[in-house]
Symmetry: C2
Subunit: 305 residues, 2 copies
Amino acid sequence: MEKFEVNILGCGSALPTTRHLPTSQVVNVRDKLFMIDCGEGTQLQIRKSKLRFSRLNHIFISHLHGDHCFGLMGLISSLGLLGRTAKLHIYSPLGLEALLKPQLKFFCNKLPYDVVFHSFNTIQPEVIYEDRSLTVTTIPLEHRMPSCGFLFAEKQRPNHLIKDMIDFYKIPIAQLHSIKLGADFLTGDGQVIPNNRLTLPAIPARKYAYCSDTIYKEGIVDQIRGVDLLFHEATFLESEKARAKETFHTTAMEAAIIARDAEVKKLIIGHFSARYESDELFLTEAKTIFPNTMLAHEGLCVTIE
Amino acid sequence: MEKFEVNILGCGSALPTTRHLPTSQVVNVRDKLFMIDCGEGTQLQIRKSKLRFSRLNHIFISHLHGDHCFGLMGLISSLGLLGRTAKLHIYSPLGLEALLKPQLKFFCNKLPYDVVFHSFNTIQPEVIYEDRSLTVTTIPLEHRMPSCGFLFAEKQRPNHLIKDMIDFYKIPIAQLHSIKLGADFLTGDGQVIPNNRLTLPAIPARKYAYCSDTIYKEGIVDQIRGVDLLFHEATFLESEKARAKETFHTTAMEAAIIARDAEVKKLIIGHFSARYESDELFLTEAKTIFPNTMLAHEGLCVTIE
């Protein structure tokens, strides 16, 4: 099966600790790398991984808090030193370009490639990236500032033709494309051959949803329903629910409720507050609601089957 | 003896590797922490060390290349989250304040403490910091942009009084201060007691010189003569001397020549280019000229005795 992996480079919250770095992930779809958020130290984490800088062309920034974007300048600068010539696309809520442009001009005035900024609205879901096999759609969240998650969705591939049946009915080549897409076949003598006798269904398209930073927001459940993998922030434990609400973050239990209600296949939680000594309590709490939960950690690579 | 230590947080050059982070050091003088340069990941390195954020009040930036200052925003931001209220002083060549102010305004708009920027000239040595026991003086270097090293010099302490002699000559308390500073004593009957019979010399004041980034510059030798410890950049090996010159950097051999000519007690080299697979060649090369050389590495703490 073609590659669809999520690599966790950092899963701490604003204050880095010896256990966790600020947020960054790399989604690897068929060896195209898509970065989500870029906290300080992200380029160092890529160095430690087997991910290749040259495969990275698109960076998605969820919101403009420092722990989600302070690694951008170092990364952009290093890509230049590595001789990059391909454009680098950065997608974010409005404002990032104005903040980075003066720095780029000063620190990277001889950059051998272009950085292209794209801003997205944070109110309505919007397809912000599309290629032959993938779309990336924003998931509007609710935080102390405009913030969006991202839904990575493979495009559904056409059905597989059953060669023996195609031969048996002598189906003309010109009709094969529509049959792959689900059409029935009408024989010369008017008989209708239903599509499910001619094709085998393709592997279902896979989906990954990333949701951070946000207060508990039921409204996202419909958009992320049934995804294979959900990353949801869990900055606090239920015991700090008041603090979570006040700072527009989510508790581990609330993240699990979102996962359960959206009937996702698997949940990863992260963005852990530095106040907790261990992450295990997050897991225990989330599993009471949604058993198929795992903890994010730096270096984790989750394959979506 | 009172503490005077140099902690290496990062000693790579522009492109970080799995072995080396961008430049940063912390000089610990009697538990006051002074940071030199602040590359990406510096705050993470402090977390890993036993250094305490609360002891840090002064940051010295040698020059405005990203690998020497991209860690500032993350550090400033985290100090705020840690509840800092004391002013943080940042010393650099002109330009840093204009670059950071818009970011501070956007990312750290509720910072509970003040960041105070000080710019220094990069042409003439200048005392940029002074307290009861220490001065920090710039060491003008020569790089692709204005750049200075820093000379950390303890102030010479007064001599120690020899109590038995003070009692023997019944020296009045009012005269003790001048005797500590080197005065002789005149007895009632006109006899001169030389100072060296009344005092023991204090431990000689210690000095640390940091020189990075720079092309080989003989002109610094007089200013750093006899220092206890010299950190000098050694970005390249002698085999890449042309490249060193072109990029305004120093080779390991050149760093050793500076150390030898300045008669320093010990040399640490760092700022190694990412092109080399191992650091050992730097050491071998430097030691041919200056045997008391050591390699910098992340986590190294050198005590100045």
